[in-house]
Amino acid sequence: MTSRRARCTAIAILAALLGGAGLASCGGGSDELTMYSGRVPALIDPAIEIYEKDSGEKLKVRTGDSPTLAATLVEEGKNSRADLFYAQDAGSLDAIEKAGNLAPLPADLLDEVPARFRSKTGRWIGVTARSRIIAYGPKVKTSELPDSPLELAEPKWRGRVGWAPTNASLQGYVTALRLVEGEAVARKWLTEMVANKTEPFDSNVPIRDAIAKGELDLGLINHYYVAEAQAKDPGYPVKVHFPTKDLGSLVNVSGVGVLASSKHKKEAIAFVRTMLGKPAQTYFADSSKEYPLLAGVAPSKELTPLDEIPSPEIDLADLGDLEGTLKLMRDTGAL
């Protein structure tokens, strides 16, 4: 009989469920570190292995996109199961720092990284840097490449540029623009970019791909997206240009913080130290083509060295006024 079989199946599933629930809740009380990570597993796993080998500890990782994980941590509050948060952007770390979710990091650890790449209150620290560059396709001559991202609003580039206004990196960029050039310049730029039919995408990768297809000529994205694709396919048709004027190639970070609610702060801090240790930093430099932040580790050869990148002296911790940026972006129709 179908119904009898259905009932047996149902009972079996429920039993399995309860068993699973029991097991999982036991796991929750273990001594293993738990990390919420906004980074791509394939890129971060080798760095985690370095930690696991060094410490003999295991690390459990929940992967998602950084802003959603930040929102989750805020909802979880002090009952979070996470010990660490590893974000793709300073904005997500900033959000949970403001909500009071992060614990202070030791001063000697913070000192490993230049002050502009960490939180002012010492509650999160940058691990790698990435540069906001202009990606360009084969149809663009190097001589016509703009010196400043502000030039992307010029009629010459009408309909040829892609950006990702919903993405945290672009929002950080706009915040920096407001800080450095002032509200009026930022408003004018956004308005002109929208009027110039700049193509909005929901994230950076599709912009890179559209340039590769020849549907767009330029894109405002992070440098390592191009590096990733080039690593897979050496003939990848998209190249990276570092603009030099105005905001230049603003540098942002990926970074880590330890949760204030963590019961394993010592181990969690040990993990952060490993990420800023030489082996992990060398790995990041070689594989994901990000800029290592530890002094003495050189970035990948094809990248312009970090201190030669024209980037305004902005404290990343000052990029906190996201609300004002979102309002401006909504007002100008960019969002």
Partner: protein, 551 residues
């Protein structure tokens, strides 16, 4: 009849509208009876569970009511509501326009291979909208696969598909089966004698369809249409990829920008829109609650002979199947073939498939059980309270996945910490998210069980529980299975709740696809996507057969 648990019914549909008796049957008589306290308590527990996402919005909004009001009362949010509503209306209309001819052809005509067409035409239901969106962008983008194919003919670039047009296309293709399924079930149950009478009185076949058949199908069309509209309103994946500024996208942006109050306020607007939709639906359905009056076994309608019309009919079926199945599966196979060369991790994929299967199956069982409680209450004991219990269940479906997920993060860490981020929690989330999909068919099946049968058993001295076990349950099995299958198909592809609430390391096919696509490696996402479709096919077949055969 179809008054209390109004059939937002999927297959099998509410008792056959046939003899055109208007109004309410014995359900009403029973309405005077109060439901057993235990059952009512159980119903309240289900309703409370289903209301958690909406409750979470209320809690957050209450925290800062002023900021919430500021976020909602803007011309911008009004504009976004209108945009989303416009998309929902357009998709619902086109889904109905596709489903009506397909349903009629596969049920009432002598179309060659109609059962095969029926199964093929419902398969797109299992296609996650984000995968369909990736595929159609890959094909139709200005320099996509279609342009490459047309390049020898001198086509340099295709027009943009982003925005309204693309979202409309992709969402229609993913959702029309939600109308097709209940519509086929309803059509099959039509009593042909009414149509014959109309024909004898001299009406043309088209007139008969318009004046006799269509009105009887309205409840099923309306029920499917509501599900389509709610799906469109809450979808995020497809609209994000297709770059359509929707209301849901605004909710995501707000959550991701640490503006949870604003996000919650916008989510509440979505709940209001849902309530509006129900009011509209009740109007559409109106007094058309019709059911069979004549006793005896119902006679199946003789198939209409298509004659030379069979060719355009076949063309229509083939066209729909080509666009909704052949193209996406073809593209996925093409990507998979590129990925196979770099090696496939069989063990990982197998484990992911097992996890997907486990979570979705458990959610299906849980949702079907909950739906049975809701169904019995609203069908056997109609009234304001039981109707409210049923309606509350829809909140979880109307809200975007992120809201459901964050609501359970919020309540999970506060009142159920030992269960937080366990499989049980994930299954709970999935089952409240998709509960309405099970309530429809379960309620409809219950309506087909004559209450007199149950009353007789009671009169003969059986306890209510015994009656349920021996009389009701065997008779509603097909409805329960249909409901469970629908929940299973949706839970299989769910993403936001799985990412946040599953135990760590519990990777599913959907999370695998997510990780691959965030870096732009669609090729690597193709194999999990194909396996997802493969797993989904058997329950869909069951749904079709059960749904059409009925009990």
């Amino acid at each position: 009849m179809a008054t209390a648990a109004d059939p937002l019914a999927l297959p099998p549909s509410p008792a056959a509208p046939a003899g055109l008796v208007e109004g309410r049957s014995s359900g009403r008589l029973l309405g005077a009876r109060r439901p057993p306290a235990a059952l009512l308590a159980l119903g309240l527990v289900v309703a409370l569970a289903a209301a958690l996402p909406a409750l979470y919005l209320v809690v957050v909004v209450a925290g800062d009511a002023r900021a919430a009001a500021d976020a909602v009362l803007t011309s911008r949010s009004l504009g976004l509501v209108l945009r989303s509503a416009g998309l929902a209306v357009a998709v619902t209309a086109s889904a109905i326009a596709i489903a009506v001819p397909l349903a009629w052809l596969t049920v009432r005509s002598d179309l060659p291979g109609r059962r095969a067409w029926a199964t093929l035409a419902t398969l797109p239901l299992v296609m996650p909208s984000y995968i369909a969106a990736y595929v159609f962008v890959a094909v139709l983008r200005p320099k996509g696969l279609l342009q490459e194919a047309l390049a020898p003919l001198g086509v340099q670039e295709l027009p943009q598909i982003y925005g309204f047009l693309g979202a409309w296309l992709v969402l229609t293709l993913c959702t029309y089966p939600l109308v097709l399924l209940p519509l086929r079930a309803a059509l099959r149950r039509l009593d042909p004698s009414v149509e014959e009478a109309a024909r004898v009185m001299g009406r043309s076949p088209l007139e008969v369809f318009r004046t006799v058949v269509l009105p009887q199908l309205m409840p099923a069309i309306g029920a499917g249409g509501v599900l389509v509209a709610l799906y469109v309103l809450s979808d995020f994946g497809a609209v994000a990829i297709l770059r359509f500024d929707s209301f849901t996208r605004e909710i995501y942006i707000a959550f991701q920008s640490a503006q949870r109050t604003e996000a919650a306020a916008l989510g509440m607007v979505l709940v209001l829109v849902m309530l509006l939709l129900f009011a509209l639906y009740a109007k559409v359905r109106g007094a058309r609650a019709l059911h069979r009056s004549s006793p005896g076994t119902q006679r199946p309608a003789p198939p209409v002979r298509l004659g030379r019309w069979r060719w355009p009919a076949l063309g229509l079926c083939a066209g729909v199947v080509a666009v909704t199945l052949v193209v996406p599966i073809g593209v996925l196979l093409y990507w998979a073939s590129k990925d196979v060369s770099t090696g496939v991790d069989v063990a990982t994929i197998t484990a992911e498939a097992g996890n997907s299967l486990l979570a979705a199956a458990a959610a299906a069982v849980a949702a079907a059980a909950a739906a049975l409680v809701v169904g019995v209450l609203s069908v056997r004991f109609p009234g304001y309270a039981t109707r409210a219990i049923e309606r509350v269940g829809y909140a979880g479906y109307a809200l975007p996945g992120i809201v459901v997920a964050l609501a359970l993060v919020f309540f999970g860490t506060r009142v159920a910490l030992p269960l937080y981020q366990t499989l049980a929690m994930l299954v709970f989330a999935l089952s409240i998210h998709y509960l309405p999909l099970a309530v429809g068919p379960v309620g409809a099946a219950l309506m087909q069980v004559p209450p007199r049968l149950e009353e007789a058993a009671r009169g003969l001295g059986r306890s209510p529980l015994q009656v349920f076990r021996t009389i009701t349950r065997p008779l509603v099995t097909s409805g329960v299975l249909a409901g469970a299958a629908l929940v299973f198909l949706h839970a299989l592809k769910e993403l936001p709740a799985t990412l946040l609430l599953a135990p760590i390391g519990f990777e599913t096919l959907a999370t695998d696809i997510f990780h691959q696509t965030t870096t732009g490696f669609f090729e690597a996402a193709a194999i999990p996507a194909l396996i997802l479709l493969l797993i989904a096919a058997p329950p869909l077949y069951l749904l079709n057969e059960k749904g059409v055969k009925g009990t």
